[in-house]
Symmetry: C2
Subunit: 233 residues, 2 copies
């Protein structure tokens, strides 16, 4: 997931150079409030990757092995190629997608609260995708855990091509969410840099979601050494 | 300074998903070799900020106070508005610009060596600017020291608008380098996003620079609490 605050840039440019530090203090407050969500048990599977400017990058399911996804294949076979809500709810991909959506909604609520306190009008624009990626630590000085791959690039592009107060999801992510009972709105096929064919993407309103029956709480937390993951971000 | 390896992307996309980890290992080796430069005494004023993908971000002079630049103003007045090599060499702005150039050249030499060992053809494309910026630490989870401001944006854009094996510098940075005796090549005026008027930028060849008489070695390392800096990156 890439969650950015596009109108933070306007706020930033309104201030003189010697007042920029105050803008940063507000950004720090926002990011620290988002960070607090990570300690909630329901978001135990969410990993913050980093912030880049006013963009918050996080992923769910990074600690899962590929065998965790075998259940998904079994369930998909059971449903004979059709999406079946009962069967798919509870599978790994949906569980991660759901927790990521819940996290984005919680971020949005936090931002609304901070807006009221600081008389601002910041809005979140969120991009999400699901799929395999590579994770690792780069560098000797200031080493940083990061993630790479097409799934990561797609999530970033869903953010940049997205709309304020909406979650913009890839085809795969949208299908998983729809199968799980989320109200997703097709945006039709759009051209995305790095993808040959135009792809169908989906928008999820931040304000009008169904109350998920799946809590997204996860107790399995494998500490494996396998750096190849299939994750939701 | 933003130093990126544009053709790392081609290398990355040549490999299957399950071989991406090997690409990352090579990137890690490159970044770790760049990191080793930071421990050299001549680069003691260089601060690595972070890597973003295959882009290495660093700055010089972050620990200097604004009063360190008073000498610059005095020297500029002495030279009656004209650039005067003798007077300007040794001033703070040039010293930082020079050390940043030396750092970029050292990075380039390291990459050439790694290319020979790994039969690759990676090239550095470098963007630089000079000016005021804001620095600070953002976030409670995975807090990261970072820098912000127009100077930072300009350096990044010099990189993206640059050419392989060349350093692309802003007007101010180019003037400082030229005054210090560097052979800089004007690229004419180009339009840069975020800057109203087209700006003259300069290219410095990575392979054919003069041997600087200024070592760039710095012994003053103020640990001040002032987070507003005038830096070279």
């Amino acid at each position: 997931m890439f969650a950015s605050i596009p109108n933070f840039k306007d706020f930033w440019s309104e201030w003189d150079t010697n007042r920029k530090l105050e803008c940063l203090r507000l950004l720090n407050e926002i990011v620290c409030e988002f960070d607090k969500l990570l300690s909630k048990p329901k978001f135990s599977s969410v990993e913050k990757i980093k912030t880049v400017g006013s963009t918050y990058m996080a992923a769910a399911g990074l600690n899962e092995t590929e065998t965790d996804y075998d259940d998904d294949v079994y369930l998909e076979k059971q449903s004979h190629g059709k999406f079946n809500n009962n069967l798919r709810i509870g599978n790994t991909a949906f569980r991660n997608a759901n927790v990521m959506i819940e996290f984005a909604l919680a971020m949005s609520q936090i931002l609304d609260g901070l807006n009221r306190d600081s008389f601002q009008n910041f809005e979140l624009r969120i991009g999400m995708s699901v799929g395999p990626l590579v994770a690792g630590v780069i560098g000797a000085q200031k080493p940083q855990y990061d993630i790479w791959g097409n799934t990561v690039n797609l999530a970033s592009r869903m953010d940049t091509h997205g709309e304020p107060r909406k979650i913009h999801a890839t085809t795969d992510m949208g299908n998983i969410l729809r199968a799980g009972g989320y109200r997703v709105q097709s945006r039709g096929k759009i051209r995305v840099k790095g993808v040959k064919e135009p792809m169908e993407t989906f928008l999820i309103e931040v304000d009008s979601k169904r109350n998920s029956s799946v809590s997204g709480e996860q107790t399995n937390n494998h500490n494996n050494n396998n750096n190849c993951h299939h994750s939701t971000l």
